[in-house]
């Protein structure tokens, strides 16, 4: 059966037509339900694409055929490795139809015998080809097809394929997230890295980052806008761009600036690069340059919400509040529940003195997030004592006509009493004039009692001693009272 009959189409050099035909036939020949039919369909699909590619890209086919020619000198015809597939080996060997068909196809294409090494090289050739043409690189379908290649089903080659792919991707990691996810799903590096994560990360740091550790972060930058970039050094650009992202993450502004400039030299009109540039200028407070970056980004990608929000933030800092509000209103029409945008809008209204609008905005925040502290604080500030009344009830005094009374009533009664006692003792203790007065009074008393002009030394000494004893006893009593009050305050306070 001819390949075009299997695919159900007329001979065509259009790859998309071939793909659609394959997809349509795949529904009829599912690998699990109809392994023979599926095998036949796969072969036909591969051959059809090959022919289409030969027609459209002679230079690429020259590389492939050169590789094939080198391998042909050492090749022997070997059928069994190609037909070894998971779960279908026994069926393949009993199918006389499929084996001659395979040989016939090989003869038609004048292919060299397919040794494992040849298959592997052929496979890696395809990887290389897909990667080095940017449009094909960012098309997940190409990689999906590659993951369905025979080599991927060959158990004997799995280890070699895995290693070759790891080595290739280690030096060519600049792929969109969807491709990395597809590759990780096919090769299952996460499971393999479980055995020795550290070793894997040391041997393949880029694959580790892009496929395992930090995939969501490093692949957050888009590739689609580069499709029209023309003849640029894509890998250089992508390298500088992701390095800029990482430098900004680490707040390494010098490296960030360097990488951003280098990326810009290669291709200055990528929205994600412009966003990173704008972020850099925003952080370094170079608002005019930041604004230029985001304006440029909006011209390229008019739907880019990040650029509008950054612009609104810049306008707010520059006190161009009306412009900021305009951008924010547009943004909130797209993302009505974004708290950052609502918050900034509220601040703009406050600065403009439009408190009603500000109040509305903060109430919108509370509708989305009922315990938002910023909204609660600002609304409380607007409402002042009204909020105070509503939230905390009429039992609280609102206008302290007697501040002392208010303070007393606010503190638990027992604590208040002990605190007062302590305060009194403190006041007594710190007034040293009291002790001097006591001493003078003692002398005066002694003089009066003895009724003489001057007491003798003995009397003076006694007087001093008595005074000291009285003072000491008094201090002791006061200290005891002080301590008791402290203990009681601690006890009731901790309750």
């Amino acid at each position: 059966m001819h390949i075009w009959d299997i695919l159900g189409i007329n001979p065509s050099g259009d790859r998309s037509v071939i793909k659609r035909a394959y997809a349509k036939q795949l529904k009829l020949h599912h690998p699990e339900d109809d392994p023979v039919g599926y095998q036949r369909l796969r072969e036909a699909y591969d051959q059809a694409l090959k022919q289409a590619k030969q027609q459209s890209d002679r230079s690429v086919n020259r590389i492939l055929s050169e590789e094939e020619d080198e391998q042909q000198e050492n090749q022997r015809v070997s059928i069994s490795p190609r037909i070894v597939m998971q779960g279908v080996d026994h069926q393949q060997e009993s199918q006389h139809v499929s084996v001659p068909h395979r040989i016939m196809i090989l003869q038609e294409q004048d292919h060299a015998p397919h040794s494992p090494e040849h298959q592997l090289n052929e496979f890696m050739g395809k990887v290389n080809t897909i990667y080095h043409t940017f449009i094909t690189r960012i098309d997940t379908d190409n990689w999906l097809k590659l993951m369905n290649d025979d080599v991927m089903w060959n158990l004997n080659l799995q280890s070699s394929v895995n290693e070759r792919m790891l080595n290739f991707l280690e030096s060519h990691p600049y792929l969109p997230r969807s491709v990395w996810q597809l590759l990780e799903g096919s090769f299952r590096w996460k499971e393999k890295a479980l055995a020795d994560r550290e070793l894997f990360s040391e041997r393949y740091p880029n694959v580790f980052t892009y496929a395992l550790e930090d995939q969501q972060y490093v692949t957050s930058l888009r590739y689609s806008f580069l499709a029209d970039a023309g003849n640029i050094d894509y890998d250089a650009f992508l390298h500088y761009r992701v390095m800029a992202l990482r430098a900004l993450k680490d707040h390494d502004l010098q490296t960030a600036e360097d990488m951003l400039n280098k990326a810009c030299e290669v291709f200055p009109s990528d929205p994600d690069l412009l966003r990173l540039q704008g972020e850099f200028y925003f952080r370094t407070d170079d608002l005019s340059r930041a604004l230029m970056a985001f304006d440029h980004c909006i011209r390229i990608a008019p739907d880019d919400t990040d650029s509008y929000f950054y612009r609104a933030r810049i306008y707010y800092k520059q006190d161009k509040l009306v412009d900021a509000i305009q951008d924010l209103i547009y943004l909130l029409s797209q993302m009505p529940e974004n708290l950052d945008m609502l918050s900034l809008l509220g601040k703009c209204y406050i600065n403009l003195g439009q408190l009603n609008h500000a109040r509305e905005t903060y109430n919108r925040i509370l509708d989305i997030h009922s315990n938002d502290i910023e909204a609660l604080v600002y609304l409380a500030d607007f409402e002042g004592s009204t909020i105070y009344q509503e939230s905390f009830g009429q039992s609280e005094e609102l206008e302290p006509t007697d501040e002392l009374e208010l303070q007393r009533s606010a503190v638990p009664p027992l604590l208040s009493i002990f605190a007062k006692i302590k305060e009194l003792i403190f006041q007594l203790a710190k007034n040293t004039w009291l002790y001097l007065l006591l001493l003078v009074a003692d002398f005066g008393l002694v003089v009066l009692v003895l009724d003489g002009p001057l007491p003798d030394m003995g009397v003076i000494m006694v007087t001093i001693i008595v005074t000291i004893l009285v003072l000491a006893l008094g201090s002791l009593i006061l200290t005891i009272i002080w301590r008791v009050c402290s203990v009681l305050i601690n006890y009731f306070g901790s309750k």
Binding site: Y217, F392, N490
Partner: protein, 216 residues
């Protein structure tokens, strides 16, 4: 700031009262907020608080205070914000959701993302300043700091707080964000439980915040 000057010390005392009042929480802490001296006289409570930080001598206290000054929780918050700021709006949430279950970064990133552009430049520094002042006063009461050290450190805290925040509103928001961030509360539990107290601190006529202004 000449913290040897009596008038300056009186002013600093008002700042101590205001800044440390944010550290209270629980059921009806407002009466104590108005009478912080009751808190600072409760040596056992002060000791318990320092024990949570494993501080039981002067040297450890000074290390902790130095950390508050140089680094604080604000650095980690800033790092989280830097990480998120490189991502687009749509990628930020996706990135947080992509983190594996049990990843210790998740809760803090959720809090950072919630307050992403809404805090002033110093972020959650309010949380560091309040706890630094509280620790200074607690340390002094427990004999770990001299009076001079206490006033010196409080003066520095107050100066930094006034540079970072222009109003008590912004300070309160920064503090609340810091509380939820340090407690890794992705559901913003601190705010849920203490919002009434924070609002009361801000608007009550007899609040300690009414006695002193943050702005210059």
């Amino acid at each position: 700031m000449d913290y040897y000057n009596l008038e300056v010390r009186q002013q600093l005392s008002l700042y101590i009262h205001a800044l440390s009042s944010f550290c209270l929480k629980g059921h009806n802490p407002y009466p104590f907020a108005k009478n912080m001296h009751l808190i600072f006289e409760n040596k056992s409570r002060l000791s318990q608080m320092l024990d949570q930080w494993e501080i039981d001598d002067s040297e450890k206290l000074k290390e902790k205070l130095d950390w508050f000054f140089q680094t604080g929780h604000r650095k980690e918050f800033r790092d989280s914000s830097m990480l998120l700021s490189g991502l687009s709006i749509s990628e930020r949430t996706a990135f947080i959701q992509s983190l594996p279950d049990g990843d210790p970064r998740t809760a803090k990133l959720i809090v950072s993302n919630h307050y992403f552009t809404r805090l002033p430049g110093e972020g959650i520094a309010a949380y560091d300043h309040s706890w630094c002042v509280y620790a200074c006063c607690a340390g002094y009461e427990l004999g770990y700091l001299t009076e001079e050290d206490k006033w010196r450190m409080v003066a520095v805290c107050v100066r930094e707080a006034r540079i970072a925040y222009s109003s008590w509103k912004d300070y309160a928001i920064g503090y609340a964000a810091g509380a939820d961030f340090t407690e890794s509360s992705s559901s913003l539990e601190y705010v849920n439980k203490n919002q009434d107290y924070l609002i009361k601190l801000l608007i009550a006529p007899d609040s300690p915040l009414r006695h002193i202004s943050l702005s210059y």
